[in-house]
Symmetry: C2
Subunit: 252 residues, 2 copies
DNA sequence: CGGACATTTGACAAGCTTCAAGAGAAGTGG
DNA sequence: CCACTTCTCTTGAAGCTTGTCAAATGTCCG
């Protein structure tokens, strides 16, 4: 069983001791806001790898911040076809859309064991009222996530199989790198080919053949639950994907 | 030249006289907030059909509320392949992501002549601070738009051509209906088959053949710039698309 | 060793794209 | 008023990408 760095321990009881905030990846937050976040938090929980955090049809009464591990948002058609909308990594806010758009249901499933902080959804308005800067941050996070879905839609709609794979590998590698989860040029990579297929809108078989081809071309290696980008430039050209430079992101 | 209801006149000078707010489609807003919105607004503008409101590479310094007409958000690959992310209809807020996610650029293009209210992007923080309820509304709108992109991603990734077309026709019809823009069972439909193809991730030719087929099956008719859903139930089954009941939405 | 699951490969079918070209509608200018 | 251009819609044919079916291999774990 491969262990993943990002899983590690459950959230600490105090936000002041939060491992994520010490990474320097997230925007610093004033003491008053931090205190509010801690009082706002209703608890922590963990979900096993493969478990469902939010059911597609049944909205959750909570918001979550992913503390450790990988998860994904998805939608399914009634005959079982599944589309992964985007992956969730440590620091991501979960469940915001459920609070708002009454329709547009989606589920959240854990890839690895995950640990989360939970917040009561009723408290969200209070947060906006008492700490507008946190409300602003939440809007920031929502816009950022939408940007990721935009990218995936461009892939699914207009890129061919090889380009989609290249795009996804680049995208995930960059996100993990920014989180400080890269080691020796590789990042943890707990998803399987079915996840990749469901993300890219491809069949499992074709995803496998495409991954194989790119790997044999020496563009990347996936082994032992880790991903190496051996030729990032070629991948970038192939995917036609040029992201903005890293930037600190808010953390609730 | 077909005239579209939703185009009509440019925005009135006073928000109190706003045609959109009289429709009953949007959530009522308190007098203080309305006053702030009006003072926040930096002006109005119009863009011709086919014109570009926001260039893909060059973020705009403004936010907009679409007052009349149709527009769309899109991204392109460097070789010209274009993906429409979602359509913008009266009442939609435009340009929020640009404010936040520094990467993830997208453009906005007018389908019909459009008229808009413009807001300075620097004022957004002030809005959150002084009127948290408006900040909350903006987050609501952001989450709602993400939900639409989610739906489109499910289509592009997992639905076949006929299902995608059915889904899009249902989706647009519903949105227009909720805006009170349905007349005699039909809605204005100013987009052409290239727009549809770029939305669904299909080629123009295949889009045409699929539209033709559904129309000959008696599911819908598109004629004279209007859309009729002749068999909504069949379309709904085909698309496997069940939206939430209408609900009032915020309007900035 | 046996079972469950992920990966891999080949063969074939199907859906979709591309290429090519014609028809119809609308606007332009002589 | 009519040629002319432009744009959109339409249709057929051929080819390629991707999906489906089937089965083998490998790995992990009980």
């Amino acid at each position: 069983m491969t262990r993943y760095l990002s899983e590690s321990a459950p959230c600490p009881p105090a936000c002041a001791a939060c491992r994520l905030r010490r990474t320097g990846v997230f925007t610093p937050v004033a003491a008053a806001e931090l205190e509010f976040i801690e009082s706002f938090r209703s608890g922590t929980l963990t979900v096993q790898a493969g478990g469902t955090l939010i059911h597609e049809q049944k909205p959750s009464g909570k918001l979550f911040t992913l503390y450790g591990g990988w998860a994904f948002r998805y939608k399914t058609l009634s005959d079982g076809r599944r589309q992964i909308l985007n992956f969730l990594l440590p620091g991501d806010l979960i469940g915001l859309q459920q609070e708002f758009s009454d329709g547009a249901m989606h589920g959240i499933e854990a890839v690895t064991d995950i640990s989360l902080c939970a917040f009561p959804r009723e408290g969200l308005w209070e947060l906006f009222r008492r700490h507008p800067s946190l409300g602003y941050d939440i809007t920031w996070l929502a816009a950022r996530e939408e940007g990721m879905v935009d990218d995936n839609l461009l892939s699914a709609g207009r890129r061919n199989a090889a380009e989609r794979v290249a795009m996804l590998l680049m995208h995930l590698h960059r996100r993990l790198e920014r989180l400080g989860l890269a080691q020796d040029g590789s990042v943890e990579f707990p998803i399987n080919q079915q996840h990749i297929a469901d993300t890219l809108g491809l069949s499992l078989v074709h995803t496998n053949k495409t991954l194989r081809r790119l790997q044999q071309l020496g563009l990347h290696v996936i082994r032992d639950g880790r991903l190496w980008l051996l030729n990032p430039q070629a991948l970038q050209r192939l995917a036609d994907y040029y992201d903005a430079p890293p930037r600190k992101v808010p953390l609730l």
